[in-house]
Point group: C2
Chain length 383, copies 2
């Protein structure tokens, strides 16, 4: 990409994730305050992009304008970007495009969701809007989709319910060191295995919680970057790929092609290989998906993902730490915020600021997806 | 912006607008077919962005993936962008950023809405999600917002209900020559004045209809442009600005600051002045808004917009033809499609393809807005 801008992350912010009393925009303000405390002058921000599935949860679709107004950033460019749970990383991708194009020098990527004021039934219905119509009409909920995938994966490769629960155990262990996580406590394998069934073989502890939260990241051009007091993290690649809306149309339920395709492009653009990645945050909406992503991004061969969990390779201290934040499973999963919560963690990791859970990594990968892997966003970052 | 890509429109497509039996994605396919018939090879498309307010109308939020799949464009980059009625132009803006950055060489901007399957009450509620909470709780609908603005404008500047109705008469006259318009017929001033009140002083014929439709535009880099058989229209500027979500927080109800700010930036980037514009498509969701936009983009001085209507200056054949397509008022207003329906018309105008309504223009302006002018998108185009 010679001749084009090199694009940097120059700061991040995140609210505490969990069941929160505040409105979505107030959680954004909490995250923004952290960015300001890093010494970022707000007047440099030229544009902002908000990833949020807000229409159902907060009856608000002008979320770009709302956030610009509440953060004091009017009349700056602002709008909403969306692909259900991939919204946060898509906000970052749009900020990346805006800066890389020279359209602006500094853009804020914001992700937010305020979910807990709605009933579980309302949330389930809102998330089903990320499915193809045939699946919606058949009553196949999002957990049911992942359950079918998990069942097939176990049949095909010999993984067990224990293997899946070990993903949850690992991520809870990581979250115990994350003061902003939804669940800051460890769980045992037995707790997970005995938790109530959601959609067999998946149990409550295989599933990410319904959370409130906001996260954001500042993307800047090289020109602006030099003037800022914060660590600079290069965005070496930002790639988006898609797959059939219905999993019934995919040749192999156990292989998330959109994730693999976005990762392939990202490795190529960044000029790195899976072996070069030293830390990753990936989309474990359900434990099975973390295992699938290991394989799709090349951390393990096809059918070998669950062995990484058995070996402890993806724990902090292991060969390739995955979800040091606690992941969607334990850090929490406020839909629109998740992609940027991942980036928040990776910025801290690369800067050496993830107190109590630092990995010392210098090259990082983030995988955010929406609609049961029907849209995937992969970011490659390095310091 | 030396050193960066010049970005072109290399083709467009639009479905017939109106009350349609098809699903939203089928209307997109109809529009896409027109683009293919212009001789565009679909395999050049690297990414697509969809402007749509679909969650309420079609219970679908993965609209990027849906369109990519139905058009045969998997696994390309695809996602949804949104700011209510400004969604279409924001899809174009995102495509512009993607190409200008060098991230892709060809991006498709898609706008679509399928509204008529819902009741008027459901549509009214969905559109209220574009308002601030205080206004939602107070029951101030979108027509009520524009009614307050119209009342204030009439009081402040001496415009009359006749002046506003003359906007509708003009736009219906234009639409009579547009075979894809929702209303292909002329109306009289009397018909408009006697139509039933919606929110006084606005009447049914001051309001854009509830429509179904889709429109799209192909954005390409200079490299790709040279290989295509279609007329090339330069996107000389693509600018987005915001204003307070609630009109109660604005110093002057009659001045849409976000439109003015986006236009100011666009004139500056394109190096043109209001006098250079030879045709415009602007956001006449209600007749009053067309008049306000005349002033905000500099076609008239403050308080002088309604005189352009009285003088016939904005008719085809006048000094500065506005809404030759018929505008939102008569071409129709499928929320997410509108911004790209404007661009569709302007591409035809610049190419000399708007049979029966050609203006011969070579420099064009498009103004699309959402949330009662709380987000505005201005595109400047030239051939």
């Amino acid at each position: 990409m010679s001749g084009y801008m090199v694009v940097f992350l120059a700061g991040v912010g995140m609210s505490r994730i969990g069941k929160r009393a505040e409105a979505g925009w107030e959680l954004v303000a909490e995250a923004f305050n952290e960015l300001l405390e890093m010494g970022i002058p707000p007047e440099i921000i030229d544009a902002l992009y908000v990833g949020v599935q807000s229409e159902t949860y907060e009856h608000q679709i002008m979320y770009g304008t709302l956030v610009a107004e509440r953060l004091g950033l009017l009349p700056k460019e602002a709008y909403r970007v969306e692909a259900c749970a991939a919204a946060g990383a898509l906000a970052l991708h749009t900020a990346y495009l805006a800066v890389k194009s020279g359209h602006v020098d500094a853009a804020l990527a914001v992700g937010v969701e305020k979910m807990t004021a709605r009933s579980t039934e309302e949330v389930t219905d809102a998330l089903m809007a990320a499915s193809d119509y045939i699946d919606q009409m058949s009553g196949v909920t999002i957990p049911a989709h992942y359950a079918m995938i998990a069942r097939r994966y176990m049949y095909q490769y010999g993984a067990t319910e224990e293997d899946l629960c070990m993903v949850a155990v690992k991520n809870h262990e990581h979250a115990a060191a994350n003061p902003k996580a939804h669940f800051q406590r460890k769980i045992t394998l037995e707790e997970c295995l005995k938790s109530r069934p959601i959609a067999t073989p998946l149990k409550l502890y295989d599933a990410a919680p319904i959370s409130d939260g906001a996260a954001l990241a500042l993307v800047v051009s090289e020109k602006i970057a030099k003037k800022l007091p914060t660590p600079l993290v290069e965005i070496a690649a930002s790639e988006v790929a898609t797959d059939t809306l219905s999993i019934s149309q995919r040749p192999d339920l156990t292989y998330p092609r959109a994730v693999a395709e976005a990762a392939r492009r990202a490795y190529e653009k960044a000029g790195v290989t899976p072996k070069d990645i030293e830390v990753a945050e990936v989309h474990d909406a359900f434990t099975i998906n973390e295992v699938l992503i290991y394989e799709a991004v090349g951390f393990a061969e096809r059918g070998g993902g669950y062995r990484l969990i058995r070996e402890g390779a993806t724990k902090i201290g292991g060969r390739i730490p995955v979800n040091p934040s606690g992941g969607l499973k334990a850090r929490g999963h406020p839909i629109g915020a998740t992609g940027l919560a991942q980036v928040y963690e990776l910025y801290l990791q690369l800067a050496g600021w993830a107190h109590g859970r630092n990995t010392g990594a210098r090259v990082a990968l983030a995988v955010n997806e929406g609609g049961v892997n029907s849209a995937a966003v992969v970011h490659m970052m390095r310091i």
